[in-house]
């Protein structure tokens, strides 16, 4: 799988009503307007009336503005946040089963340790490793595990949140006439 290229992929964080059929409406819209979904993660939010969809789209398949406006036309879609690459905290979870006969097992677990990944299952000739991190970290560990032989791999698709503002609203400093600020 090619690494998600930051330039081509764009993240929409979409707040929707938590009702049946909403996913179909969103997925159907993408299909019939010819927009490509790269990955999709859905779950209820802290308020169970709403769900959050994190949709990574192929920005070259359609103008982002059209995607966002068409999504807005769906009645159960409440809010859309576009998170530009680098402007959000992104995380993805991966489970990967790697061939690990006893002679290679320590090398595999060592590699997992470097990434702060966890071994979650061990078989007689394979291990399953869990890694949560940025999509880039997942790509990197995947690449490094590949020579050992990846037997199975699943990724959840990423979830993302916009970065928080670091500075408190500046109420004290005001421009005063006639003085340098």
């Amino acid at each position: 799988m090619p690494a998600p290229n930051v330039g081509r992929h764009h993240i929409f964080s979409v707040l929707v009503e938590n009702r049946f059929g909403v996913l179909t409406r969103v997925a159907g819209l993408f299909a019939r307007r010819g927009f490509n979904i790269y990955s999709l993660a859905v779950s209820p939010t802290e308020d169970d009336r709403f769900s959050r969809m994190t949709i990574v789209v192929d920005a070259e398949s359609a103008p982002l503005e059209q995607i966002s406006k068409q999504l807005h036309k769906l009645i159960p879609v409440i809010k859309i946040a576009e998170i530009a690459p680098g402007d959000g905290v992104e995380r993805e979870l991966m489970l990967v089963t790697v061939k690990a006969t006893p002679e290679f097992r320590s090398q595999v677990t060592e590699l997992a340790a470097i990434f702060d990944a966890r071994v979650v299952d061990v078989g007689y000739d394979a291990v399953t490793i869990e890694l949560a991190g940025t999509p880039d970290q997942l790509d990197a560990m995947s690449d490094l595990l590949a020579p050992f032989g990846i037997l199975e791999r699943q990724r959840t698709g990423r979830i993302a949140m916009a970065r928080l503002t670091r500075q408190a609203p500046n109420t004290k400093l005001r421009a005063v006439k006639g003085r340098a600020v």
Binding site: T24, P63, P76
Partner: protein, 575 residues
Amino acid sequence: MKLTGAQALIKSLEMEGTDVMFGLPGGAILPVYDPLIESSIRHILVRHEQGAGHMAEGYAQATGRPGVAMVTSGPAATNIVTPLANAYLDSIPLVVITGQVAYSSIGTDAFQEADTVGITMPITKHNWLVTDANDIPEIIREAFHVATTGRPGPVLVDVPKDISNQQMDWYWPDSVDLPGYKPNTKGHSKQIKEAARLINAAERPVLYVGGGVLKARGASALRELAELTGIPVVTTLMARGAFPDDHELCLGMPGMHGNYTAITAMQRSDLLIALGSRFDDRVTGKLDGFAPDAKVIHIDIDPAEQGKVRRPDVPIVGDARLVTEALIGAIKHLREKESPASIDAWMQQIRAWQEEFPLTYEQPDGGTLKPQYVIEALRDNAPEDAIVASGVGQHQMWASQYWKFNHPYTWVNSGGLGTMGFAVPAAIGAKVGRPDRMVWAIDGDGCFQMTAQELVTASAERIPVKIAILNNAYLGMVRQWQEMFYEERYSEVYLSPDLPDYVKWAEAMGCVAFRVEDPADVEMTIQKANEVDDRPVVIDFRTDYREKVYPMVPAGATNDDVIVGPVPGTEGPTQ
């Protein structure tokens, strides 16, 4: 008060002001047809569910009120898919109620089960599957709200049979709570000022008016704007009647079969003021050659239309009437300080085009009947506020070209979807909504055969619509394309002028019927038809099959390559 879901549904429709609905009962919707007996709502029993949908659309287009149709599950729901798609593309407010198999049976391939909500999702503005009878008042309220506000459109409510029978406590919600639906109607004031500035500076402006103006009931605001600025107006197929054809600033219809002046004025324009129009491919022709020098002000209530096809210089999201009114204020204000650029030279150029390239046809004495001649005779014998419905094809283009639309809501047709068979049921719906108006359907022989059975409905319900079939014995528009672009290789377009016998067929359906072959009989027969006011009337006009719709911008060509008409003395086209 305890009600069944079915009673609550009918009561909710009454609360929404429904005075008439079009439908056909069946198994899953049976419970809802029972309380209908006591209801104040007039129900018109159609002969095919597609007819119910198109009648509701004709009703909505003629009155501005939402059309309501009700049918059962499965095949009835799929039969109404075409009207839903039609209403979706032409932004017609339509509320469709469908029966569904019992909620407990959904997903079991029960008798007459179809996934109606799934099937209609892409062609409705929104749809609902009712899962609890207590939700019915709220959902119906929401359905009417969504159908009629913002950019209007069709909605569908799917009601399982056991939900219709379920008891509920009646209530009527006093407001609608849809957190994800807040259409913006007021245009941004800064953008409106910027638009006024562009309009004031333009030397070759054109008002490119679409169906949104009619939806927003903005015809008089538009007229005020045009007269204030002196800017000429083109009205698209969906906007015919939004600006009077007899007005000196009206250039008529643009697009593939628009008139030369309307097409060319847009091409040479330096400012297009798109008002409730959406740069449809039938208007723009080849997109990268469309109005190359024009800046664009795009006023549309649907934000997704902004920049979908052509990037506007000034996008304004809002209701066409409200924005037009605000724009008038902004222009007046601006003109107190700055005088507008002169558009005199532009208007001179436009007058010259109008003189050089009028719409023309020739009706030879005693020759075969020309369809345009029939339309002009229908027009000249009808009251000015008569409503005209049409199907899709050559007859539709001629009707749009040759009728004079001087009042809004007098033209009912299928623009976006191009639904053949639309005319007969749409005319019936329009007549139900406006019984005070004369309603003519101008139809083709191909179209007529698709939905003619609804004339039985019209006869039974005493709905006196008038149908003019321009019978050229061909699928005429397809024939025209085969003649012009497929080297006269005619493939599956011949229909026969007398199979069926339209007069006998119409009479069998309870209509008064006439046949006209000689141009000399046209006028007299139309007058006879106009006198019939207690039942439908059908005239079978045998027209010249060789007649083609001109002007024409061939598919894939730019609007600069418009073909004005046939070379004199030949059958071939000229540029």
